[in-house]
Amino acid sequence: MTSAIDTISSGPRPRGNRHAALLQRQGVVLALVLLIVFGAVRYDDFLGLYNVMSVLRYNAMFALVALGMGFVIMTGGIDLSVGATAALASVVSAGLSDVGLGAGLAAGIAAGLGVGLVNGLAISRARLPAFVTTLATMLGARGLALLISGNQSVSVSWDTSFTDLGGGDFLGFPIPAWIAGVAFVLGSVLLNLTGFGRAVLAIGGNEEAARLMGLPVARVKLLVYVLTGGLAGLAGVILAAQFGAGQPTEGQGWELFAIAAVVVGGTLLTGGMGSVGFTLAGTLLLGLIFNILNFENGKGDFTLSAYWQSVIRGAFLLLVVLLQNRLARRPS
């Protein structure tokens, strides 16, 4: 909380501090570049077309979830339901995939929007705390996904073009990566160039002040949760299309992975500050750790089990958080 207030109220800063603030937010880009250089030097096919494309294809759904989470966190809220929402959407869209690509896509997104609407209404109208509300809808969405699917994965139809959403290419790029790319461009425009984006940041900075300024606080918060639900739904559609089945038990822990990506991307959890692009960098950073681990095992100098992945991710999160903390404190 203190750091958010510092950032807003400290006004024009001396030059050195501005550098510090810049580094705080761009540290993730630096880390990403270092990791890519490391991989490119150490492994032969790291920058090969196949690897780059599969990393992009696989991480697209995480990126979509993290994008939504970024917006929620910028308003000072949180959304724990995104993983379960994605699971629900994957089941629903897989069920309708035999009708066609459009139907599956629409159904999945609609399921996500539905959960988002419940979250948004409870948080913005009934003024329930976001943490508990989305914790409850997480359970609810998971339960619905299991109910609809009968506790089994729902295979998608291979007769329609639905699976293109996961495995297809367009202009040489994976379609999921296109979807995530477009979403991030739109998200960036929304945050930086529209009144809605300014309202999001204002609410996160100081909700009471935003209200007194006459901003439609309740409506903006409602929209943010609906948006996040929709993005999680979209991620669920891609999940189903990519793995050939709606997965009612998938998506566990996605919410915390997304929060980690957002935090690594330099967005303050207290709200009021944040960046869409750095969230993308944070997602890629966490995703690349898994990729590099695979390469390291393939190289065979020594073997690290897949379980090291989470240990290393946790260590990265700790490192970034401590670094940000150091830099954020320097001004005072």
């Binding site: 909380m1 203190t2 750091s3 949180i78 724990l80 409870a122 009934a126 003024r127 329930l128 705390p129 943490f131 508990v132 509300t133 914790l135 409850a136 809808t137 997480m138 359970l139 609810g140 998971r142 339960g143 619905l144 996904a145 299991l146 109910l147 506790n151 566990q252 915390l256 992975f257 929060i259 980690a260 935090v263 959890l269 207290t270 089990s305 897949a306 379980y307 090291w308 992945q309 989470s310 240990v311 290393i312 991710r313 946790g314 260590a315 999160l317 700790l318 958080v321 401590l322 903390n325």
Partner: protein
């Protein structure tokens, strides 16, 4: 200003519920559930039913007691499930003599109880240290071990299931004293000690003071950092105990599963039990009742043939309703 508002609304709450107190609603809900089961569930009144429900709820209650204290300071602990997994992974390694080099025997068994719990406590202190020393938001600070902790447990066991036959752990899981399961005794002791500590000890007062207004507590000369570290350490310690109970009941330890999702179960119990997530208040008995309500609800639904998935949806609705009612109780 916000603090003032909270204090004022709390006073209103007390005026609004002169007889039942803040626990009134929780007790009422539990009473209704019990009454319904008495009428509608066959064989409900039996020691068997009581013990089934109690043994299923013990680990949640033990963890939720620590969570209540953490939440009372205005924090949150997401790492509890992962710390359970670490403790659960360590114990079999120790009593089988694979970790400390002490062969199987009574001494190894004693170590297998205490070392994992102390390790979990040390990890908890690490959480507290991040929160107190670096002022990292609790949700981010504990997210680090949420992600890395389970990985550490998986790396230690290489992700393998450790099945075991150990008389001492068998007793912890299935033994009874005076006809009551040992883990239920353990739960009673934890609840009793915590309730006493919060009401009657200086530490309890200080803990609530920090949650109510940390800045004021600091100005009043309270050792805020020390208390914060201690409270996370207690949460880690209780998670360690819960982890041992889980593996004792199963006679096996699976680092992938022990404590999975426990953080959310515990937070749900705290929220239903009426402890506000904003801090400054702690109701250990409320948390116990909250956990019992959630458990009894699940039992009721299952024993009436409602599938587990649907029970999740109902659980979600109950959590939302409970928080909403508390909100209404606090509103002017």
């Amino acid at each position: 200003m916000q603090e003032l508002e909270i204090v004022a609304s709390r006073r209103r709450l007390r005026l609004a519920m002169p007889r039942g107190g803040p626990l009134g609603g929780v007790v009422l809900a539990l009473a209704i559930l019990l009454l319904f089961n008495l009428v509608a569930t066959p064989h409900f009144i039996s020691l068997q039913t009581l013990y089934v429900n109690l043994t299923q709820v013990t680990t949640i209650v033990i963890v939720a007691v620590g969570m209540t204290m953490v939440i009372a300071t205005g924090g949150i602990d997401l790492s509890v499930g992962s710390l359970m997994a670490i403790a659960g992974a360590l114990a079999p390694l120790i009593f089988a003599g694979r970790l400390l080099g002490i062969g199987p025997g009574p001494f190894a068994d004693v170590l297998a109880f205490f070392v994992p719990v102390l390790v979990a406590m040390a990890f908890g202190s690490f959480n507290g240290w991040l929160v107190a020393r670096f002022r990292i938001q609790p949700i981010v600070a504990t997210l680090v071990l949420f992600i890395a902790g389970r990985g550490i447990a998986q790396v230690m066991t290489n992700g393998n299931l450790q099945a075991f036959h150990n008389a001492s752990f068998h007793a912890l899981g299935l033994g009874r004293v005076l006809g009551v399961p040992i883990q239920v005794w353990l739960m009673a002791v934890v609840v009793g000690l915590a309730a006493w500590a919060i009401r009657r000890t200086l530490y309890g007062r200080q803990l609530l003071a920090i949650g109510g207004n940390e800045a004021a507590a600091r100005l009043a000369g309270l050792p805020v950092a020390r208390i914060t570290i201690l409270v996370y350490a207690v949460s880690g310690l209780l998670s360690g105990i819960a982890g041992l109970i889980v593996i004792a009941i199963n006679s096996s330890s699976d680092a992938n599963l022990v404590g999975l999702g426990m953080e959310l179960d515990a937070i749900a119990a705290v929220a239903v039990g009426g402890t506000a997530l904003t801090g400054g208040r702690a109701s250990i008995i409320g948390t116990l009742l909250g956990a019992l309500i959630i458990q009894l609800l699940r039992y009721t639904l299952l024993s009436h043939g409602v599938p587990d998935a649907a029970a999740l949806v109902v659980k979600a609705a109950v959590i939302l309703a409970a928080v909403y009612l508390q909100q209404v109780g606090r509103a002017p």
